[in-house]
C-alpha cells in the first residue's frame, strides 16, 4: 500500500532495532565474556568489548574440560549432543513416516485406536511422568547408554500428524496410477511417497534436531556417566559448581559453542 508517514517508518525501525538488541544482547555478552580471562570478572563488572583470551578459553574448553567441575572436554559432549540429536531426529522421522503411512493408506481394525494412542503422547511430556519413565528405562538397563538417551524420546505425535496431513494432500490418483503401474505398497512408499515428502522431511529434520539438541531433563535423569553427557547438561554442571562463583569466561565459551550447531 502506498502510504508515506516518515515518523511511523522511523518508529517501526526503532522498534525492530530495540527488538534485535534485546534478542542479541545476551548472546553478545556471552561471546564477550568468553574472550576474557577469569581475572577480568573479579573487578566487578562484565567488560563490553572483546578481550584477548578467546583462543585460550575455547581450546581449554574444547580439549581439556574443567576437571574440578567434573566436566569432560567439550568436544566429547558436542559429539554426544550431535549424535543424540541426529538419532532422535532420524528416528522420529522414520517411525512417524511409517505410522502416518499406515494410518492414511490402509484401513484396518483398531486404526482409530492406534491413532489415539499416538495422539496421547502429546498429553504426556517427559516432565509430567519423570519417575515412572525413569523406572522403565532403569529396568530395561538403558541408563547411561545412547539407546536410553534417545529411544524414549523417539515417539512423535507431532511428526506423525504433519506427515498425515501431507499424505492426505497427495492426490489419490497418484497412488492409483502407481497401482495400475504395478507398484505394491512398499514400492509406492519408496518410489513415490518418500521423494514427494523430501521437503517436509528436511524441514522437520531441522526442527527435530533442535528438539534433540536442547533436551535437558531427560539426559539429566538417565546419565550419571560423564562419557554420555550432552553439551546442554554439561554447561549446567559447569555453571553450578558448588557455591563458588563459576568460571564465567569458560562457561560462556561453552555456551557459545553449544549454540552454534543448531543455528
Amino acid at each position: 500500500m502506498v502510504e508515506n508517514r516518515p515518523w511511523l517508518t522511523f518508529f517501526t525501525h526503532l522498534v525492530l532495532i530495540i527488538g534485535v538488541v534485546i534478542v542479541v544482547f545476551p548472546v553478545y555478552l556471552a561471546f564477550i565474556a568468553s574472550t576474557h580471562s577469569g581475572g577480568d570478572f573479579l573487578r566487578g563488572l562484565v567488560p563490553l568489548l572483546p578481550g584477548p583470551n578467546a583462543v585460550e578459553n575455547y581450546s581449554k574448553m574444547l580439549f581439556e574440560g574443567i576437571s574440578t567441575a567434573g566436566a569432560p572436554p567439550l568436544w566429547i559432549m558436542l559429539a554426544n549432543s550431535t549424535l543424540i540429536a541426529i538419532i532422535i531426529a532420524i528416528g522420529k522421522i522414520i517411525i512417524s513416516l511409517l505410522s502416518a503411512y499406515a494410518i492414511v493408506f490402509f484401513k484396518f481394525p483398531f486404526r482409530l485406536l492406534a491413532f489415539w494412542i499416538i495422539f496421547i503422547t502429546l498429553m504426556l511430556p517427559v516432565e509430567v511422568r519423570i519417575i515412572p519413565t525413569f523406572a522403565v528405562v532403569a529396568n530395561l538397563g538403558l541408563l547411561n547408554s545412547y539407546l536410553g538417551l534417545t529411544l524414549p524420546l523417539i515417539a512423535s505425535a507431532t511428526a506423525t500428524f504433519l506427515f498425515r496431513q501431507f499424505f492426505l494432500t497427495v492426490p489419490d490418483e497418484l497412488m492409483e496410477a502407481a497401482r495400475v503401474d504395478g507398484a505394491g505398497p512398499m514400492k509406492f512408499f519408496r518410489d513415490i511417497l518418500l521423494p514427494l515428502s523430501r521437503t517436509n522431511i528436511a524441514a522437520l529434520f531441522v526442527i527435530l534436531f533442535i528438539y534433540g539438541w536442547v533436551q535437558y531433563l531427560w539426559p539429566l535423569l538417565v546419565t550419571t556417566d560423564s562419557r554420555y553427557y550432552t553439551v546442554v547438561m554439561g554447561i549446567k554442571r559447569l555453571a553450578a559448581t558448588a557455591d563458588a562463583e563459576p568460571q564465567w569466561h569458560l562457561v560462556m565459551a561453552a555456551v557459545v559453542l553449544a549454540m552454534l550447531p543448531p543455528s
Binding site: 517508518t9 505410522s99 490402509f106 504426556l124 516432565e127 515412572p132 515417539a155 533442535i210 562463583e245 549454540m259
Partner: protein, 294 residues
C-alpha cells in the same frame, strides 16, 4: 477418520508399519503414565518393601500442603506473565516487520534464532546478566538505587525467570504472528484506509480481530510452554528458590520425586499435571478442528 479414496488391501502390513511407534509409545509413555496414576494412590514405606493402597490421601495431603498451594499460585503468576510479556513483545515486532518491506528478511533472521537455544542455556545467559556481583543489569540498577539480588529476593528471582522464559519464546510467537499477519487480506486494510482509518485504527479494528485465531492458538501454546518447557531455565537459575519463590509445578515434581524420593506425592503431582496438559491439549485441539471447518 479420513483415508485415501482407494486403499491398499494388505491386512498385516499396516500393523507392522505402526509397530515401532506404538511400541515406543506404550513402553515409554502410556505404561509410565499408568504407573504414575497407580502410585499416586499408594504409599511406599521408607525402605521400599511395602506399598499400601491409600486412595486419595496423597492428593488431600498435597492440597493441604502450603508449599504445593504456593507452587500452584507461583506457576500461575509465572505462566500468565510469560505468556503476556512474550506475546506482546512478539506481536509488536511482528507488526513492525510486516510494515518494513526491503529489510524484513534481515530483521526476521536476527529475531528468530533464539528458538534454537536450549532453555538451560537461556537460563545461564540471564543468570549471568542478572548476576548481582558481575552482571550488567544489577550494576545499572544499583546506579538507580535498586538493590538487586535474585538469590535472596523471591520477587526478583521471579522477575528473572519470567524475563528469561519470555526471551526464549519471543522467536516462536514472532514467527506465528508474522504468518498470521501475512494472511490478513491486503484488500481489507486497503478498504479500511479508503474508509479513512489511520494505521493505528486499522490495526485495532481490522488486523487484531482477524489475528484472533493465531492469538488464541499462541495463548495455549505459551501457557503450555511456560508450565512444562521451562524446567531447564528454572534449574539453571534459581532451582526453585529462594524459599520456594520460583518452584513451579514441574520443578516440584522433579525435586520431590527425583531428589526428595517422595514417590507417592510426586506421582500425585504428575497426575495433576497430566490433567492440566490434557485440558490444554483438548482446548487446543478443539480450536484446530474448528478452524479446519472454516
Amino acid at each position: 477418520m479420513q483415508t485415501k479414496r482407494t486403499i491398499f488391501p494388505n491386512k498385516l502390513l499396516p500393523y507392522v508399519l505402526l509397530l515401532p511407534q506404538l511400541a515406543v509409545t506404550l513402553i515409554f509413555f502410556i505404561w509410565p503414565a499408568l504407573q504414575a496414576v497407580k502410585s499416586s494412590f499408594e504409599r511406599e514405606d521408607p525402605f521400599g518393601f511395602r506399598t499400601t493402597f491409600i486412595w486419595f490421601e496423597n492428593y488431600t495431603r498435597l492440597f493441604a500442603d502450603p508449599n504445593y498451594v504456593n507452587s500452584l499460585s507461583r506457576t500461575a503468576v509465572f505462566a500468565v506473565s510469560v505468556t503476556i510479556l512474550s506475546m506482546c513483545v512478539s506481536l509488536l515486532l511482528a507488526v513492525a516487520v510486516n510494515r518494513v518491506l526491503r529489510t524484513n528478511r534481515i530483521y526476521t533472521t536476527l529475531l528468530v534464532w533464539p528458538y534454537a537455544v536450549a532453555p538451560v542455556v537461556v537460563g545461564i545467559l540471564w543468570w549471568f546478566i542478572f548476576n548481582p556481583t558481575i552482571g550488567i543489569l544489577p550494576y545499572m540498577m544499583r546506579g538507580l538505587g535498586v538493590a538487586w539480588n535474585p538469590r535472596v529476593n523471591g520477587d526478583q528471582a521471579m522477575i528473572l525467570v519470567i524475563i528469561a522464559a519470555s526471551w526464549k519464546q519471543i522467536s516462536y510467537n514472532f514467527l506465528f504472528f508474522v504468518a498470521g499477519l501475512q494472511s490478513v487480506p491486503q484488500s481489507l486494510t486497503e478498504a479500511a484506509a479508503i474508509d479513512g482509518a489511520g494505521p493505528f485504527k486499522r490495526f485495532f479494528t481490522i488486523v487484531l480481530p482477524l489475528l484472533s485465531p493465531t492469538t488464541f492458538f499462541l495463548l495455549i501454546v505459551n501457557i503450555n510452554y511456560a508450565m512444562f518447557d521451562t524446567f531447564g531455565i528454572i534449574d539453571a537459575t534459581t532451582s526453585g528458590g529462594p524459599n520456594q519463590a520460583t518452584n513451579t509445578l514441574v520443578y516440584k515434581v522433579y525435586a520431590d520425586g527425583f531428589l526428595g524420593l517422595n514417590i507417592g506425592s510426586s506421582a500425585a503431582q504428575s497426575v495433576i499435571l497430566m490433567l492440566i496438559v490434557i485440558a490444554l491439549t483438548a482446548i487446543q485441539f478443539r480450536f484446530i478442528e474448528r478452524r479446519v471447518q472454516y
